[in-house]
Symmetry: C2
Subunit: 279 residues, 2 copies
Amino acid sequence: MWKTVAIVGVGLIGGSIGLALRERKLAENVIGIGRRTSTLRKARDVGAVTSTTLRLEQGVASADLIVVATPVDQIAENVRQAVAHCPAGALITDAGSTKSQIVRTLHETLPPTTRFVGSHPLAGSEKNGPAAAAANLFEGRVVVVTPRRNGPGDVAAAVADFWSALGATVFLMSPEAHDEVIAATSHLPHLIASLVAQATPREDLPLAASGWQDTTRIAAGDPQLWTQILLDNRANVLKALGRFEKSLGRVRTALERGESKPLAKLLTEAKAIRDALQT
Amino acid sequence: MWKTVAIVGVGLIGGSIGLALRERKLAENVIGIGRRTSTLRKARDVGAVTSTTLRLEQGVASADLIVVATPVDQIAENVRQAVAHCPAGALITDAGSTKSQIVRTLHETLPPTTRFVGSHPLAGSEKNGPAAAAANLFEGRVVVVTPRRNGPGDVAAAVADFWSALGATVFLMSPEAHDEVIAATSHLPHLIASLVAQATPREDLPLAASGWQDTTRIAAGDPQLWTQILLDNRANVLKALGRFEKSLGRVRTALERGESKPLAKLLTEAKAIRDALQT
């Protein structure tokens, strides 16, 4: 399907893309690009890439598809570098958890012929690095592809085809709609899970059973990556946090007064939403 | 090990106790006591009990061990009824998620010769009823047994032996210490998971991936059961909530100001606590 795919950043997501491309025989060459030789070596060792380089400009020079899978605060710069050195007509996407700011920044500075559309595979994990990568990471998962309004439709379709080929279900949304929804379904839950973990006295952990373990699982994620994600999308995170705090205030009052009705109402509404998902 | 065990309330916990007793051949007779014939029938069908009755006074009449596995707001009354009708010397425990109020209430009203010590198996689930019961529910799980200060030590030891025989790891703690710890490791996480679910717009659910699913899993629990648990332990829940809110306030300020440092600090501390558990 592709002759040469360049993956910038071969961590969990980038490494899994490489593994999936190779297992599904979708690319002849998979070039891993990174900043640390140790990570690149591990990516080679697990079979995620066919060759590696520390130099982005070299790695993208003959690529027909480039996927930028670096932390959100590096994506725009990496895409800009890739555009400057890749063949004309190369398809470019990313795998960042936030979209508006990245897409806006790039749109303002890139040549209008650039074939870039942003993506967000909802396939994160509390694990990191190429050692945690898996060829089936995207199977049955959702990937949001985020074309700009009035952008070229064929580029979005080509990016959607790429993720579909890895086994994902693709949703198309504007970058702005993506960031608003994902604040509620991913960024706020991450922040709150971290607050629950941090509010737990260490000496109480022997009594932390499956409920605590499930609720706090994502708090094991990379603090630096998530600091950037939360800051990048802070307007939407604050909006979702506002809804959370409003209900929290009602619940606190009910607990202080010993009133069962507002508590039962909250728990019933929460169960209805949780049950609507059935997983 | 026991000739006749009476289980008051044959839901997930009571049903699992019956299944474990029978599979491990620890009891000749297991009598299921409940208020609904449909639940009792299901408990019989799954093999959790050898006989059933709607009348507690009859069910406990020949029991040498009685386990009260009803919702927390019914436990004290059920124990009182059991004590009034069971043979002298029968061992009695419960399976409630809160302990101080139940133990205090019972201590004030029961004859001093009563052989009751409270328990809390940390083996809850978002599932309910005898259909979800499993003989291995307690294997490798923690059960907290909560003797009163200056209470009879042999009764606590006998109750601890009972849970050990079902495969559990038993911790002995005072009822008050239990309630304080469990507020942080179970009750607050449940409340917060419910608030996260409830703050999620229903139309956003298609983008709720594994992070949201893990964080909100326990919000599918029974709203009535959990309303009673949260109210029963509200002083400790409010204390744990206070710690949570203090950090939340700092995080909100950091998001409003776009400051990365306080966010990174919170996420790093949270990860350290989560990683300390390693499950």
